[in-house]
């Protein structure tokens, strides 16, 4: 589905992503790595917010390199950015509706999608007419995920969705991700909370200093010495 080959990304003279190769099929994959490893940069390159210096990015056989973000999103990739990027002076329901309004296939199914999103996140239905900017941090995270789902993506990208959430909410959010996965959506999850992340992903990549250091299935990662020591605190 998504194939990234030998990707290099620099900000000015500093190279942040180094010869990075990975793929996502009909599965959920994870990027695990410390602050500054380059997870957000990778995600931004996929959705066209950052331009790589070299490499290939193909989605369902088509290159994404020369496409604008809105075109990439319309091809079926949705992202839940690290900082939400919601519309603060629109209501919850307006934020959700806008998630499908500019994507043709999704627009025709807006009411169905709304029901689907409300079923997963009942809080969004309760707060439908509250301004997004006045929602709590956790609620905004749910809204950001809901808005991304409105677009009926085939690939859902989440950038550190657990940051700043209380532990019970993190567990809840990952349970919902597991539900979303069963809807046939491929997932690319960037996380520092490796323990929780491992519960939903099928395969994962450990990213350090912009390069892949380990690539493995979820089960192997759980037992990997480096992962245990550096990320699971065992």
């Amino acid at each position: 589905m998504l194939e990234v080959k030998n990707l290099n990304v620099s900000y000015g003279r500093i190279q942040v992503i180094k010869d990075f190769t990975f793929s996502v099929g009909d599965e959920a994959i994870g990027f695990f790595g410390p602050n500054g490893a380059g997870k957000t940069t990778l995600i931004n390159s996929i959705i066209g917010l950052v331009r790589p210096t070299s490499g290939e990015i193909n989605f369902e056989g088509q290159s994404l390199l020369d496409r604008e973000t809105h075109q990439i999103v319309r091809m079926g990739i949705s992202v839940v950015p690290q900082d939400g990027e919601l519309f603060p002076i629109m209501t919850v329901i307006e934020n959700l509706r806008i998630g499908s309004a500019y994507i043709k296939v999704a627009r025709e199914k807006t009411s169905e999608r709304l029901e689907f999103v409300f079923k997963i996140f009942p809080i969004l239905k309760e707060r439908a007419f509250q301004l997004a900017g006045t929602m709590s941090g956790g609620q905004q995270r749910m809204l950001a995920v809901g808005r991304a789902l409105m677009a009926m993506p085939r690939l859902l990208i989440l950038d550190e969705p657990s940051v700043g959430l209380q532990p019970s909410l993190v567990t809840e959010l990952f349970e919902k991700l597991a539900v979303i996965k069963t809807e046939g959506v491929s997932v690319l999850l960037s996380e520092q909370n490796v323990k929780q992340g491992l519960k939903v992903i099928d395969r994962g990549y450990v990213v350090e200093n912009g390069a892949v250091v380990i690539e493995s299935t979820a089960d192997d990662l759980k037992n990997n010495e480096h992962v245990k020591r550096s990320y699971l605190g065992l």
Binding site: E68, H70, V79, I103
Partner: protein, 309 residues
């Protein structure tokens, strides 16, 4: 709850009506003249608010596009005998194309270049427009005469122009039109979203470059509406619109970004304030100081009394 939000929403409008009524009792001429003139300021200010709030560009050539629109209306009148109010439609379209063209050729290049470069660029466009108008039409003042524009009535001993009420009508019509556009159309909703969060807009599939282009084009086009209503009452010369750049900016600063109704309210309030000063014998020249003085006062009060969301 209901009544509180009602109060909050209409508080400013009520204050404005009270202000006009109070001034009307004291100085009826100033109230009416201020209402008319202030609406014209609002008509010019609304599109600036749009470019500043959505595209994020302070367009220093705003007033010069207004002058250009005025000359185009003049040309229609001279060459085809078209009534200035009728020519609003073709001028709207012409200015839209011109605005979009200038945007595409120049402003897109500096969107990421920082505010100073943007200011310099639009200042340059302002100078070029001004010089081009000077070259084509010279600085000799011109005018277009239409008989209905000089009608006036006398009520209770106060004489005032009736044509100028068109400023009020057009300002309200443009305000309502813009609000319908932003709330009810897909492109308008996209613009509203882009104004709040351009990155967020991109990731929901909005073509932000296209939104910027259209919004800039519409903003310049709306100046064509102002031009059409102004021509019958104004002497036409190349810098006729120049002062509207800063006046429009004042209105945006007073109203706050993204508050279109506030532009109309601020415009009328400043128009009335200006008219009062002008009506005091010997102090007419102070009116501009009032305009900017009120602006400074409002901004200072607002920063003391922090706004609540």
């Amino acid at each position: 709850m209901e009544s509180i939000s009602f109060w909050k929403k209409y508080k400013n409008i009520l204050f404005l009506i009270l202000l006009i009524v109070a001034v009307a009792i004291w100085k009826p001429h100033a109230a009416i003249y201020g209402l008319q003139r202030g609406s014209l300021y609002a008509l010019a200010g609304l599109p600036l608010s749009l470019t500043l709030g959505i595209v994020g560009i302070m367009n220093l050539s705003h007033g010069d596009f207004l002058s250009l629109g005025i000359y185009i209306v003049y040309m229609f009148s001279v060459n085809t005998g078209m009534d200035p109010l009728v020519s609003i439609l073709p001028v709207f379209i012409l200015l839209f194309l011109l605005g979009a063209g200038v945007y595409k050729l120049t402003i897109t290049k500096v969107l990421k270049a920082g505010h100073l470069n943007q200011l310099l660029l639009t200042f340059g466009i302002s100078m070029i427009l001004l010089e081009v108008m000077n070259l084509i039409w010279t600085s000799r003042p011109r005018s277009v005469y239409v008989d209905y524009a000089s009608s006036s009535v006398t009520v209770a001993g106060v004489r005032f122009g009736t044509y100028e009420f068109l400023y009020v009508v057009f300002a309200i019509a443009v305000l309502i039109g813009l609000q319908l556009f932003l709330k009810k159309t897909r492109l308008g909703q996209a613009s509203f979203a882009v104004g709040q969060n351009p990155r967020g807009a991109k990731i929901v599939g909005i073509n932000t470059s296209f939104v910027y282009l259209i919004v800039f084009g519409i903003s310049v086009a709306i100046l064509g509406i102002a031009a059409g209503v102004m021509v019958p009452r104004f002497a036409i010369f190349p810098s006729v619109g120049s002062s509207y750049t800063m006046k429009s900016f004042c209105l945006v600063a007073m109203a706050g970004l993204g508050n279109l109704t506030g532009i109309l309210i601020s415009g009328i309030a400043l128009g009335v304030g200006e008219a009062i000063v002008q009506s005091i014998p010997g102090y007419a020249g102070w009116s501009d100081i009032v305009f900017f003085g009120v602006l400074i006062a409002v901004i200072m009060i607002r920063s003391i009394r922090r706004p609540s969301l």
